[in-house]
Symmetry: C2
Amino acid sequence: MQDEIRNSDYKYRVEVCFVPGQYPLYAADMGIVVVIDILRATSAMVAAFEHGVDRIIPVGTIEEARQYIGRAGYIAAAERDGQVVEGFSYGNSPLAYVDQDLRGQTIVMTTTNGTKAINLAKGAKKVVIGSFLNLTALSDWLVSQNENVLLLCSGWKDKFNLEDSVFAGALMERLIASGKFGVEEDSSIAAKYMYMSARDNFMSILKAAPRRRRIEQLKLLPDAKYCLTPDQSTVIPILREGELVRM
Amino acid sequence: MQDEIRNSDYKYRVEVCFVPGQYPLYAADMGIVVVIDILRATSAMVAAFEHGVDRIIPVGTIEEARQYIGRAGYIAAAERDGQVVEGFSYGNSPLAYVDQDLRGQTIVMTTTNGTKAINLAKGAKKVVIGSFLNLTALSDWLVSQNENVLLLCSGWKDKFNLEDSVFAGALMERLIASGKFGVEEDSSIAAKYMYMSARDNFMSILKAAPRRRRIEQLKLLPDAKYCLTPDQSTVIPILREGELVRM
């Protein structure tokens, strides 16, 4: 923890909330909430917009998503425990949306963690979607706004999650570098140190043995590589009346 | 995240829970819970035992602690928001127990975070108290046991806390080094990286600007230095029938 966070003269705060369950403790005075679910919901959302979809409706239950199966103009997507739910053709894999023309389509999506976090943050002034895919576009936009920013990690089944927190650290670092932002929370300082440990190679996040095992079991390695590659898109999905649209 | 956690052949798990609110998500199959509140409850508890107290009764409310004010053989201690509660002579400062002969005394203590976490963990098979003060003694004892170990950080008002997590990383590292322990949770991996960033100088935890401000405001610097100095005691407080005693 050699290089201190120097932020005594900042105008706005950027803070990190590690798990959805702690959101109420961090939400006060936050104008913008960035929802983060790197593996894989928010990465898939950015990929889908990048490949043409018009809007994404995040829903809480499989039943809600199921009503859209087979409806013209809709793609129903449901993931639980890292896998596509039975009866659905789409889960939360971003690669499912690549190499397709999705113009005019609406995705109705429910996932284990990400869509839950989006629905939790609904009450905030602005809710946007973050991922490595749109890191630079998103950080430039956040710097251009005059709001406190909360980086809300979706976690894994309500628990702390490494890749979401490392990404939060990466995004936070850019906001602090702008000179406009500072941090107050210990979680934000910790995210910075996690990011510093991983920044030379984001794939290293997957190296820790237990994580690699899960990713191999679920055959997620191609997805994981895609989700950890920065700046593949300039799209910033934003929540408007319960639906995600291109900003 | 260069040096991977190698733990494929471990027999027991050591995991880190960052906040009390997440305890139910991490408690399954954990034989021993180590409660951690570095600044300052668990540091003060170890210091008090080191200086002779017989037992410490952790209580949840100020009212419970207040009943013991002035009673012979009892020291009533209450801290809220980092300060001694009005009417009490003791809060959670470990330095209050140094340079005193406390033999035969019982402390009844309530604090913002630490005593809450102890009461939360009550149902576990064994609950012990961790701090930098008893780091080596505690890690040696944990290695000698044949149980999964959960490191429960008390946090700050239900939020993530840096010094508790760094200490959890330090303790975890020793258990892993024994060859008997491995980790599965992302929170444990993150704690390791936080510890690695701080291990050359634990006082550096306090360097991050917002923390230093709070510690200076509360005039906690002498306490903080004491609480971050490893191996001042070989006492391991353990919970027996709701009371902490020397093991």
